[in-house]
Symmetry: C2
Subunit: 177 residues, 2 copies
């Protein structure tokens, strides 16, 4: 594993958002001590709120990650190299309730040094985040095409506002995104 | 005014977020036809939700912009050059209820070509946005230090999720950010 160096939360955001909306990123949480889980996310926001750098992730209550993030109050967002697109896809198609997705995808995890959130070793960039706030979507305050197109079963996302406590990049691997 | 060309919503995000959290950006709305208003924002998020590029802005109900954005359902986010830091500061210190801030700041406005939102001509980058959703912060779902540090009077922000319908940049002026 190449060394990852600390970066500013606004570094490389263009690349990160482009991967988010194309292959997706991995949102990692602990299911048990030493048992990590990850879900693939294609939606999310990055910015600054309350004077802090924030990663915002959206999780439907039906997802296994929902109960983990509610319990843990911490998560990581991992940007994976293009060569691991298959692993990212796997994490987006099966539930971690019954299977050890990360192990099946040959991904390994270490504890983040600030919060102890699970960090995927093979990431090129990662963000270690602490949940500062969670709020829900309000169906009646949503334009109809968004509501109908994304929530036919009423499974509205919860929005998690995660303070980025540390983010690191393997600069030599940026070409692999 | 130099020509601004259409850009991808993920272009130059690093620069935009750095200006957001240092000098601030201008969030512009119409107060009347041909009467624009702008408030300075230092917080906000950019990303992708519902498969759409999104700018997320936060407005307290006590702000004049709150009633304008509620009524209009559209806004622009404008990234101003460093030389106009004083104008951005002015827009963050007085209310547009009683004064024509943009005129006082010598800023002029044109109608955005997609939504007709007010666009500040002197911006280096701008985003024209349509509100898809609004939801509120939930005091009891906020960590105490964030709640106490930012909401002593209980004036919690409303979160506006704006689809970026178009964004443009004056590439020759990027050095002026």
């Amino acid at each position: 594993m190449a060394e990852k160096v600390i970066m500013t939360s606004t570094d490389h955001v263009t690349e990160v958002l482009d991967v988010l909306s194309s292959r997706g990123l991995l949102l990692a949480t602990w299911k048990q001590p030493d048992k990590p889980n990850a879900m693939t996310i294609g939606w999310g926001m990055i910015g600054c709120v309350w004077g802090k750098p924030i990663w915002q992730v959206l999780v439907r209550p039906s997802r296994y990650t929902y109960e983990l993030i509610e319990r843990e109050g911490r998560f990581s967002v991992n940007v994976m190299p293009k060569s691991l697109a298959g692993a990212v896809e796997l994490c987006g198609t099966v539930s971690g309730r019954d299977r050890d997705k990360l192990d099946e995808a040959n991904l390994t995890v270490s504890s983040g040094e600030i919060l102890g959130a699970p960090i995927i070793d093979q990431s090129v960039i990662y963000y270690e985040c602490r949940v500062l706030h969670a709020n829900d979507f309000v169906p009646e305050a949503m334009v109809p095409d968004v509501r109908k197109g994304n929530y036919p079963s009423g499974d509205y996302h919860r929005v998690y506002w995660g303070e980025i406590k540390q983010c690191r990049v393997d600069r030599d691997a940026l070409d692999s995104l």
